[in-house]
Amino acid sequence: MKKSEIFEKEGNYVEELREYCDMQSANVPELRTKLLETVNHYEELINQAQLITKVSDRLQHKLNNLNDKLNVKNIELQETIDELTKARASRKATTIVLVVAIALFFFSEALLEPYIETHTSNFYLGFAAKFGLMLLLKPIDFVIEKWLLQDALKKAGKTG
């Protein structure tokens, strides 16, 4: 039997008993004493095994509860990370759209409007063109935000 076994003492007793049983000289009263001793040991072993099983079950229960709590916290954390990623993507998209809007403004003022003024005399056409460009901003914002979000999720998937 290995020295560091958990039931070392009990194991040693079994060995001792086995050796005793091999003895030819054991008489009946001695056997009775040894048997009683064995019954006591056995009873104690049962008590110990019952206690250890009970305590072990309780600790397993505690571990399961902690695991459940950890899972809930993990879900909450993932939701927060997703919201944060979305907010970051939205902010980036807004900045890009602002740059696009400035570019479109210069495009309309420098190229589009002079072109319309030289080729047509309709005042509303230039106005409508600018309005059309303005309406384009929202879909551009939507597309950029979606693209940035997908990119961020893809990156998160690679690192996670």
Binding site: S4, Q48, R58, L59, H61, K62
Partner: protein, 126 residues
């Protein structure tokens, strides 16, 4: 006799057995790879202490978690206290558990049912 002091680690509890005051503490987490080896030093120390015990001996258990083999080793420690108590010494085991930690509370109750040592189960507010 020298006090037994073992600093805690990720898998072993803090141990502070003081022979001068008779106050002993076991706190933290107990999941050592080899529980028997870890607890042997405590059992040996207690054997020596039993030769010249204090008027009153107090064992404070403040464990958060322990594995199955530690539960058997704890039982062996309690048995040492049982023997000390049987020899006519004033002995008390105080089992602390955190508020709402019913599993640890019931584990303490399981131990106290099996032992004949004065056993106090104390709730600690978080």
């Amino acid at each position: 006799m020298e006090p037994l002091i073992i600093e805690p680690s990720n898998t072993t509890p803090k141990v502070k057995f003081d022979p001068a005051t008779g106050v002993m503490l076991l706190s933290g987490r107990s999941t050592p790879e080899n529980s028997v080896e870890f607890y042997k030093q405590m059992l040996d120390w207690l054997d020596e202490y039993a030769g010249r015990p204090c008027q009153r001996t107090e064992l404070n258990i403040k464990l958060e978690y322990f594995n199955t083999s530690s539960s058997k080793c704890l039982l062996d420690i309690f048995k040492s206290f049982n023997n000390l108590h049987k020899a006519g010494n004033d002995v008390i085991v105080k089992w602390y558990y955190e508020e709402e930690d019913e599993d640890m509370q019931e584990a303490g109750e399981d131990y106290s049912d099996l032992l004949n040592v004065p056993f106090e189960i104390i709730e600690v507010k978080e």
